[in-house]
Symmetry: C2
């Protein structure tokens, strides 16, 4: 049974002062801290490529888990929509070389945005089980600084750069429980890139997430014959302070206090927000389980349950 053994991350050291940035758009610090959710945004160096973020996160994962040797890694999956190249080759192939992985590694990229970590877990677990692989790494690395228009007040205050690396293998710390997914291409034009610049209809995305995500998590809980009461933590995609607060509020007294909120001074790091939460809060906790939900570009969403070792 393949599950999550460890998670590591890399947040590049560059920072944008979000309070200063907001002042240009006549927004005050309170707005930045509550609605946006972070006073700083992480940003990669100009010459740092997506594959460099991938390699840095994987190196941190290997440093944390010396028992996982390079030659034992059999699969590398990169979740990104902002890879190194224009379309091809895939970033995971470039990262394979930079990390120094052997050539018998299966590498592919998954194109998904903020739902990408939830999808990616089941894509890689499934691929490994279907092909008999024992150790794989799921990387999230989607640096929106590459497509950001710093004059667009609707997006420049929100997004930060980060990468995470999740080791999937046998005898896991977290087992993957029921999962559900969804797609609505009718909302494809709510988040898109044109002429190199990202555009977002924030209001539409907010409405979609605040209506869709709670019932979706409840369906997944029902699949496991559980309710919110049985859950120890709720790990939502950190789209913004406002969306996390809105969903927390709607979850009421039962669910709201279980929502983990932290943008790590980095911002909305797309598919990296959920693994950052689990890395920081999940492993040293006494949580027996958690429910997570990612949502965004597509529109696309995915919700799933993780069970602590022996708690399924």
């Amino acid at each position: 049974m393949i599950g999550i053994k460890s998670i590591a991350s890399y947040i590049p050291p560059g920072r944008i002062d979000n309070v200063e940035q907001a002042a240009r758009f006549d927004r005050d610090e309170a707005f930045v801290r509550t609605k946006i959710g972070t006073p700083t945004l992480s940003v990669k160096a100009e010459d740092e490529e997506t594959s460099d973020l991938c390699a840095a996160a994987v190196r941190n994962l290997l440093a944390r888990n010396p028992e996982l040797r390079l030659e034992d890694v059999q699969a590398l999956v990169v979740v990104t929509q902002n890879g190194d190249a224009e379309g091809l080759p895939h970033t995971s192939a470039i990262a394979q070389r930079k990390i120094g992985l052997p050539t018998h590694v299966a590498c592919f990229d998954v194109s998904l945005g903020c739902s990408g970590f939830v999808y990616g877990l089941y894509v890689l677990k499934g691929f490994m089980e279907a092909t008999g692989l024992k150790n794989g790494i799921l990387v999230t690395a989607d640096p929106y600084s590459k497509i950001m228009d710093r004059e667009d007040r609707l997006t420049t205050l929100l997004f930060g750069d980060a990468a995470t690396a999740t080791w999937l293998g046998c005898d896991p710390e977290w087992e993957l429980g029921p999962a559900r997914f969804g797609t609505d291409g009718a909302g494809a034009d709510h988040l898109f890139v044109q002429d190199g610049c990202f555009h977002m209809n924030g209001r539409q995305v907010f409405n979609f997430a605040s209506l869709k995500i709670i019932p979706h998590m409840q369906e997944v809980l029902a699949d496991a014959r559980m309710t919110l009461e049985d859950v120890d933590a709720v790990c939502l995609h950190q789209g913004s302070g406002a969306i996390v607060d809105a969903i927390s509020k709607r979850l009421g007294e039962e669910g709201g206090p279980k929502v983990i909120k932290d943008m790590f001074g980095a911002g909305n790091t797309v598919s990296s927000t959920i693994p950052l939460l689990i890395e920081r809060y999940g492993f040293d906790s006494d949580w027996r389980n958690l429910v997570m939900s990612g949502f965004g570009v597509g529109l696309s969403w995915g919700s799933a349950l993780l069970f602590r070792r022996g708690q399924a």
Copy 2:
């Protein structure tokens, strides 16, 4: 056990006369027919998007299999490196809407080139088994006409546009056997896109494929305790007439005659070449099994065995 139930395709009707094209580069018809492998190339209409190719292939799949209803489709995976958008959103989300699939469909794109069908089969099968889904569609659609420099004699004679749609589900016609994969990012610059144009070092790719693919297929055969003698058909990625001939020759009297060669007047259609072969030659055959191998961009390669229903 999830496997292949049906395959359909869509080759757009537009044609480029390859003999005429070759004359511009002082190459004769014999060169076009033997080294390239096809006297015509398929090309999509200017306003036809990648998602339109996907939708056309899926409609042909649904027409061929009336028992598969739109509302029964639970996953749609698109293998492409030339999607509709600049990075985001993913093409599978746009195709979801164009096809009219329900919003409870899991959609994601896999970024891979000519190895993409072999990878994609195990990605989707694994994802479905990990999440309990019963019916999924794997689409290949990578229209290189979007990135072709018609003045580049090394590439403009080779590539054509096509899409295929493969229905994965229970009680399959073809069961998925052992599979192996590989990646060598050291060859990432042998096939890449820059400033909107595709570039290829054909000699390097030819050498890689002619050396790597036979031993790789033999490893997969050994996984099933089989040899070339036990195989009914060899379905290679149709990179060019020359590479298919070179591998056939090296396979000798035992393997060579089992190699299927057909570019369908379309050319090298990237991840669509292998499913086109299986659609045309595999279903009405008496083959009990086949070995396939895809290779290209990355560099990336994947080889696998398929077993006819009841022959595993």
